[in-house]
Symmetry: C2
Subunit: 223 residues, 2 copies
């Protein structure tokens, strides 16, 4: 019997790659709107390089962009970019059928959890914006647990919950951080064919294109 289901967040519960891309585009457009004398694609390329160099959790992308362009008083452009970026990021929406499926799984008696890499406050912010935070009994974030998603991460969590690996399912879009570590300790696995890695092959027990398929797949995991 399956008792607990764990979900990844990014590109599993919502299209995070799409929103990240749109947030950058909107930020660049806002800088132009407020008067920066630069070309859109030039700005976009320069921003891409900064993100590649400093990572997406860096908080001074736009200051850095302005400095690179030799802008002396960057505040107006930074403010416009950050406002547009945040407006986009706070407008995130779940993939189709995510909230109704989570609710249905709860009503069927499954215990629902989130298992995600990243910074705890940032990952909670996404669940709150997506209006699905209350569906989860608990949220396990690598930043709080002290290790990235791995066999040890899942083993530690399951032990705390007194749930055996065979009684649990991991649902995620990434082979490396979701499927393989969970499979290694004999959790059941569902690979969501969504987001950047949708085309890649999988060693998961099952794969799904739509969240609405999950209850049936979970039911099929009989011991």
């Amino acid at each position: 019997m399956i008792k607990a289901i764990f979900f990844d967040i990014d590109d599993t519960l919502f299209p995070s790659s799409e929103f990240a891309e749109l947030a950058r585009r909107n930020a660049i457009r806002a800088m132009i709107e407020i008067g920066i004398q630069k070309n859109e694609s030039q700005l976009y390329l320069a921003l891409g390089k900064i993100i590649k160099k400093h990572g997406s959790n860096y908080t001074r992308h736009f200051d850095n962009l302005c400095r690179g362009l030799g802008i002396k008083r960057p505040a107006r452009y930074v403010a416009a970019a950050v406002a547009a970026y945040h407006n986009t990021k706070t407008a995130i929406q779940p993939f189709p059928n995510v909230p109704r499926t989570l609710l249905a799984l709860r009503e069927s008696g499954y215990r629902l959890f989130v298992a995600t890499n990243g910074e705890a406050t940032k990952q909670w912010d996404k669940l709150i914006r997506l209006q699905i935070a209350l569906y989860f009994e608990d949220v396990f974030v690598s930043g709080e647990i002290g290790k990235e998603k791995s066999p040890a991460f899942f083993r530690k969590i399951l032990k705390g919950l007194r749930v055996r690996p065979e009684q649990s399912v991991m649902v995620g879009d990434r082979e490396d951080t979701d499927i393989l570590p969970a499979k290694k300790i004999k959790m059941r696995t569902i690979r969501m064919a969504t987001g950047r890695y949708a085309g890649a092959s999988t060693r998961a027990d099952k794969s799904a294109k739509d969240f609405v398929q999950i209850p049936r797949i979970v039911q099929s995991f009989k011991k």
Copy 2:
């Protein structure tokens, strides 16, 4: 002849004190909604003490609040509080008649500027959220100028613009930072009787309760 008009932002262009208060209230309510086991007024009082101690530009109010309450995994509460706080802060609206009056003043040929204390990016963010940034020819923020609003601050700006003090007006809600320093160098002054200091007496040339009065007052400032 008046050529240039300078405006303060907080409690002059929009009710910043009201929004700050509401943002704190909403943040506390969101923490309760997401499951913190504390009483609303208790949380509100504790937050007030933290803001008093660290100032309103401190960025870790809610982490600090959770730590003070002995909460071990604060991410969910911090995320909920920050999201609600920002949702409120980004929903700021100008005082009645502000955008239409700024537009009318522009059309009458006045050069419009902002003169404000604070951090440049934060002050620009407010103008962008209020959708009035484009009405201003330039924005002078103490954080960029290198001094707080003072006779020297205004003298430096006016010199750069080649505008004489008698040809300029300062519009603001505060006697100490708006009216007195501008008056000292012989700028004209309009005290907005809005916000926290609405009841205080003033040495400004004129005072106004509604932004719509400004064009007539400015016209009355004949040399």
